[in-house]
């Protein structure tokens, strides 16, 4: 099928009234959580996932995806106006964006961030369209051995590119894998770690894990350290960048788009890594690096384009291979499964309307964000004045309603409280929870493929290294692991994650 035919299907689907409406709701909610510090897209998607049950799968995915990339737009608003990252991916936008705001150029910074994000979003959408079919065709030739190795590569890559201790992250993956074993074993029907509780027979509901670790644990942590947000500036200045500002930001936007598009596809990549990398690159190649941190518009344009491009291209491995590259994509996989769609390369063939509809909706969503975002700035700023003491109680209630309504199960609410305790514990001992969620989602799939591969090969583990694609992936995982454990690279890596 040709690309234009596919896009016609996609736009036909995405332009239906229902899908347009939920795309708008998604990007608005996304901008909202992006603006509000202390509430991220991950917890929001987990919270809203249960209420998408009544929708068609494509509508649900369109809305949930809108939350993710909408949050990238919203995060920059808070970073520029308040000098607080509304989102982890806009940490670097604070550096120069807020300095611009102090000099009365807040409007220009916001406009450049929005235009940069839109350019990046458009390019990322085109890229997804272009690579979707070849990637899927490749993936359809994968056997169980290749799949197992690919998932292993994904998990290792996620560890290497994530921030924090590598050993802790590896341990967290194993914790996630073990939690994924809970429930009835599909092959033998044996009950594993269910303790006779019927609610656990189908496994731990992953919304309880995601909300507990990322939502509840975070609330408790925010409460103790306090959230200060008194720095709201009311003066926006002109929304139009000057000719000089436009000239300066054009190339950083293109570079940021390229960096984000590549890094988004990699395991462990996505918005956060892309923004950091783009800022580092802009600073490195600038004629006068000392301007950075003083309000250089390049330091806003590059990272803002990159985080949006990265957010969108991270959908590529999720949609074509069925493999999540970051924790949010793990949630999207969960959403597909809950709607009865087995993630993987067959989605493109069996659900073309869903596949292309989601992609087309991303471009429409980006357009909506560009148009509605700037006029609504005043509203977002007003929302920033909502104190955290009210906000967290609302998050708590929404979380509880969300978790409860998955299975109408009070047990899940208690389980979420348990994972909230665990999430707080992880924050206190300095262990990132994202690898756990990846391991949890990939665990059952990896087990299934490993078992199948072993049965085909007659128990010979050499099969994993005898097939060339599988071998290549295993070697790549090993190389990544060795590299990241080398002392020299460790230094570079920790520098890359430090705030410039």
């Amino acid at each position: 099928m040709d690309i234009f035919g596919n896009l016609a299907i996609g736009f036909g689907e995405a332009l239906s009234l229902t899908n347009l409406a939920f795309c708008l709701i998604g990007v608005l909610v996304g901008t909202l959580v992006g603006v509000l510090p202390g509430l991220g897209p991950l917890a929001t998607v987990a919270m809203l996932l249960p209420i998408t049950f009544t929708m068609a799968p494509v509508t649900a995915l369109i809305m949930l995806a809108g939350i993710y990339y909408g949050a990238q737009y919203g995060g920059s608003t808070t970073a520029i106006l308040v000098n607080l990252p509304g989102e982890a991916s806009s940490v670097v936008t604070c550096l120069d964006g807020h300095q611009m705001a102090r000099r009365g150029r807040a409007g220009a910074a916001l406009a450049v961030a929005a235009v940069g994000s839109f350019v990046a979003g458009t390019f990322a959408t085109v890229l997804i369209v272009a690579v979707a079919e070849p990637m899927t065709e490749l993936a359809l030739r994968f056997g169980p051995a290749e799949y197992f190795s690919l998932m292993l590569f994904g998990l290792i890559g996620a560890v290497v590119l994530a921030s924090g201790s590598v050993v802790n992250a590896l341990a967290m993956i194993v914790v996630g894998l073990l939690l994924g074993m809970v429930g009835i074993d599909v092959n033998s029907g044996a009950q594993r770690y269910t303790f006779g509780i019927p609610n656990l027979a189908e496994g731990i509901s992953f919304v309880t894990i995601a909300l507990g670790l990322f939502g509840i644990g975070e609330i408790i942590h925010n409460l103790e350290r306090g959230t200060d947000r008194s720095l709201v500036t009311s003066r926006l200045g002109s929304l139009w960048p000057t000719r000089d500002e436009m000239r300066r930001s054009a190339r950083p936007i293109l570079r940021g788009t390229a960096i984000g598009s590549v890094l988004g596809v990699l395991p462990g990549g996505g918005a956060v890594l892309s923004a950091f990398a783009a800022y580092t690159v802009e600073k490195k190649i600038a004629a006068d690096p000392s301007r950075f941190g003083q309000g250089a518009i390049e330091g806003v344009a590059g990272p803002e384009a990159a985080n949006n491009a990265g957010a969108q291209t991270s959908f590529i491995p999720m949609l074509t291979l069925g493999i999540p590259s970051n924790a949010l994509m793990a949630l999207m996989i969960g959403a597909l499964v809950m709607h009865g769609i087995q993630p993987g390369p067959q989605v493109l063939v069996s659900q073309p309307a869903l596949f292309w509809g989601l992609i087309a909706s991303m471009w429409i969503g980006n357009l909506m964000l560009l148009v509605i975002n700037l006029p609504l700035i005043g509203m977002w700023v007003a929302l920033l004045r909502v104190p955290y003491r009210l906000l967290y109680t609302a998050i708590l209630v929404f979380s509880a309603i969300g978790v409860y309504s998955i299975n109408n199960s009070v047990f899940d609410v208690f389980l979420t409280a348990g994972f909230g305790l665990l999430g707080y514990f992880f924050i206190k001992v300095g262990a990132e929870p994202a690898p756990l969620l990846l391991g949890f989602v990939l665990g059952p799939m990896m087990e299934e493929n490993l078992r199948r591969a072993m049965r085909i090969s007659g128990g010979d583990p050499m099969m994993l290294v005898e097939r060339p694609i599988s071998l290549g992936l295993l070697v790549a995982s090993a190389v990544l692991l060795v590299l990241v454990l080398l002392p020299k690279l460790r230094r570079v890596r920790s520098e890359a994650f430090r705030e410039a």
Binding site: L177, I220, Y388, A394, L396, V413, Y424
Partner: protein, 149 residues
């Protein structure tokens, strides 16, 4: 001269968690059939993973005695207890008291965790939220949660 000194309490605590989880995994998964590599039983991977966790736990515990790390921060027990308790309160109330009452109660209970709490404001907010949640989740989205007792 001290022979053993905890240099990285955070890491030691994490190691303890991994050890405990790994041991639980082995203990409760012991009776599951292991099978062979060709035909893996339900217990094969759980046991392997539990073993890996124990290995990680031992390794990290050893490292915590050798390498210096950040000190353990204080735990905010009060906030922790109140937030978790309010969440459980939702679970206990929602099926009997209905969404309206539950929302008000949970928001008021959770407010106790805020260092800068204002009860009057919280009461108004609780009523607004109760109305909003009932309207959106019950009437608009049609979730099967009873609105009233």
């Amino acid at each position: 001269m001290t022979l053993l000194r905890v240099r990285d309490p955070q890491r030691l605590l994490f190691a303890g968690f991994l050890l405990a989880l790994g041991c639980c995994g082995l203990w409760f998964g012991w009776k599951l059939p292991t099978g062979t590599a060709v035909r893996m039983g339900a217990g094969y991977l759980p046991k392997v993973l539990s073993g890996i966790l124990i290995a990680f736990g031992v390794g990290l515990a050893a490292a915590s005695l050798a390498i210096d790390g950040p000190r353990l921060e204080r735990w905010a027990w009060r906030g922790l207890a109140i937030v978790l308790a309010s969440l459980c309160l939702f679970g206990l109330l929602v099926e009997t008291a209905g969404l309206l009452v539950t929302t008000v109660v949970v928001i008021l209970a959770a407010t106790a965790a805020a260092p800068d709490r204002r009860w009057g404001e919280a009461a108004v907010f609780a009523i607004v939220m109760a109305a909003f949640c009932t309207l959106v989740f019950r009437l608009f989205l049609g979730l099967p949660i009873p609105a009233l007792p």
